[in-house]
Amino acid sequence: MSTVALRPAAARSPLWIVVWALPIAVVLTVLPLVLDSYRTIQLAYGLIFAIAGLGFNLLLGYTGLLSFGHSAYFGVGAYTVAFMVKYLHVQSMELFVLGTIAAALLVTVIFGYVCVRYTRIFFSILTLALSQVLWSLAFKFFWVTGGTDGLRVPTPKLLGIATGANEDKIHFLSHGYYYYVLVIFIACVSVMWLIVHSPFGKALQAIRDNETRARFVGIRIRSYRFVAFLVSGVFTAIAGALWVPLNGLTTPDALVWTFSGEIVFMSVLGGFRNFTGPIVGAVVYNYLKDFAVGFTVYWQTLMGVVLVVLVLVLPTGIVGTAKLLTATMRRRFAR
């Protein structure tokens, strides 16, 4: 097992990453020219959920805290944008993202202060309960939030240019907006990569693996967890902000706890012990759900079966399994 775990670490040189990441970025850039607009928009959804998954996985995969309330931050992002449109008449996407980061910081500071005192199941339940507070507020204060009808969000201005105004909305979403999402996605992936490979990220992993030892080494466990919580929430909120214009509408469904479950699902599908796991998981999950919903009204069963089989048979997820397979192949060829 240890040889398998060590190999990727040794191979993780900067050059190796460029070799891997560049072709993927190129493919993602070219895809809208090849795919029809529906598929492109699905891909944009996938990339957005990937940002949410990246944020979520900083807690689960790197800090060892399972949050069952990440819909809260996704919803904070979505509702911040909707409120900015409704009450401040803002149209600029850049301002949306900045506003979302500010709002998400405010919420995560409060929630994080409460939550990081606990680990394991109590952390999960506490995050779930707090996310449900937000859900119930969005649900009940219908004169502010629109209740279950939600709030409509029109096409935003990108980089100060009202590209969407005289353009077909579908065309805008599958071209201009897709590339906007792609750029932010790449930025988020790069920032998260730097975070998890920084001394801070290593400290989080030390906490995950052995809390007591980490404390003896001198790591201030609670403040590290707190900062991880903030970063994680902000990433997921950015995903929420990007999601709203694509969806055109935000409802309390973006805050409900089963959506948190879906974020967990994505990360496990891809494999939460890998950096790329949640990214792959989110894109695959989105296609899988799209397929299942189109295929049958009982799509939840299909997803449920996938989840149960996944945790029973492939607990390391898609990326983990693929890595294991390539390692086995490599050893066989080396012989």
Partner: protein
């Protein structure tokens, strides 16, 4: 004064159903350290089974028979539980908690659709039982008698459960397994059997909760997910794994909700979640929980 009594009854009504759900959840956690996210769906399943038994399958029977059909939902939920534990949950006891939560989340999704498949998207109701009992006068107000029956069943269930766990041999085995599974196993307790039985009892209670509430409401899709989150609040307030805690937690939540509804209805749910968060802050293990 009378209006206060009615509020009290309403609170107790809510509390007895919540106790049945949360008590089962807590029992399962206490014995096997698993938080069953699908627990709310077993409550919903009990509601659907009883509703269709009373309202559709045996709708023509005399009312005495119909009352005897009431526990059918509980038995159905227990049967599902007895199948679920050995097949899906058992492989996960040695795995990290994340996987246990995830597998029960998968079961939640599947059960939700099973109910959609069997009963369709429309509510199923069994109001005959509720109507047949009529109502009674409390001062100037009238109050349905059926609600009092629900409160009585909730109280009786709590009593039976207490007697079962603290006064029977099986209860001793259950508590021994809960305290130290390995030692109990070494002393000859069939731990797997205890697990199946505990899980089945937990599901029976959830199903009973659904069965007794359904004549006054209706069985609708999604009721399980809502119930689960509310019972989380109860077990967090009372302490995960403690039955006394579930009882006290259910009463606290019932009273709080009733107060919140009559004073500031918009905050009904938010108040409950906030209470759970505050209790976790002040007493992480809950009011009756043991620190682990």
């Amino acid at each position: 004064m009378d209006i206060l009594l009615i509020h009290l009854f309403n609170a107790l009504l809510y509390a007895s159903v919540l106790f049945l759900i949360a008590g089962g959840l807590s029992l399962i956690y206490g014995v096997m350290r698993i938080v069953n996210l699908a627990h709310g769906n077993l409550f919903a399943l009990g509601a659907f089974i009883t509703a269709s038994a009373v309202g559709q399958w045996f709708a023509g029977s005399t009312s005495a028979w119909l009352y005897l059909l009431l526990p059918l939902g509980a038995i159905g939920a227990a049967a599902i539980g007895a199948i679920l534990e050995p097949t899906l949950l058992r492989p996960f006891y040695r795995r990290p908690e994340e996987y246990q939560l995830l597998v029960t989340f998968g079961v939640l999704m599947i059960l939700e659709d099973v109910m959609r498949f069997v009963w369709g998207p429309y509510p199923v109701s069994a109001t005959t039982l509720f109507e047949k009992m009529g109502s009674m006068a409390i001062g100037d107000w009238i109050y349905p008698r059926y609600n009092l029956l629900v409160i009585a069943i909730g109280g009786l269930a709590a009593l039976f459960l207490w007697a079962f766990i603290y006064r029977t041999n099986f209860g001793i085995l259950l508590r021994a397994t809960s305290q130290d599974m390995r030692r109990a196993s070494a002393l000859g307790v069939n731990v797997n059997l205890v697990y199946v039985e505990a899980f089945t009892i937990g599901c029976f209670m959830a199903g009973l909760g659904g069965a007794i509430i359904v004549p006054s409401q209706s069985a609708v899709l999604g009721m399980g997910v809502d119930a689960l989150v509310l019972s989380f609040i109860v077990v967090v307030v009372g302490g995960l794994g403690s039955l006394e805690g579930a009882l006290v937690g259910a009463i606290i939540v019932g009273l709080l909700r009733e107060t919140a509804i009559s004073l500031f209805p918009e905050l009904e749910l938010a108040v409950l979640y906030l209470i759970a968060a505050i209790v976790l802050l002040v007493r992480p293990a809950g009011l009756f929980g043991r620190a682990t």
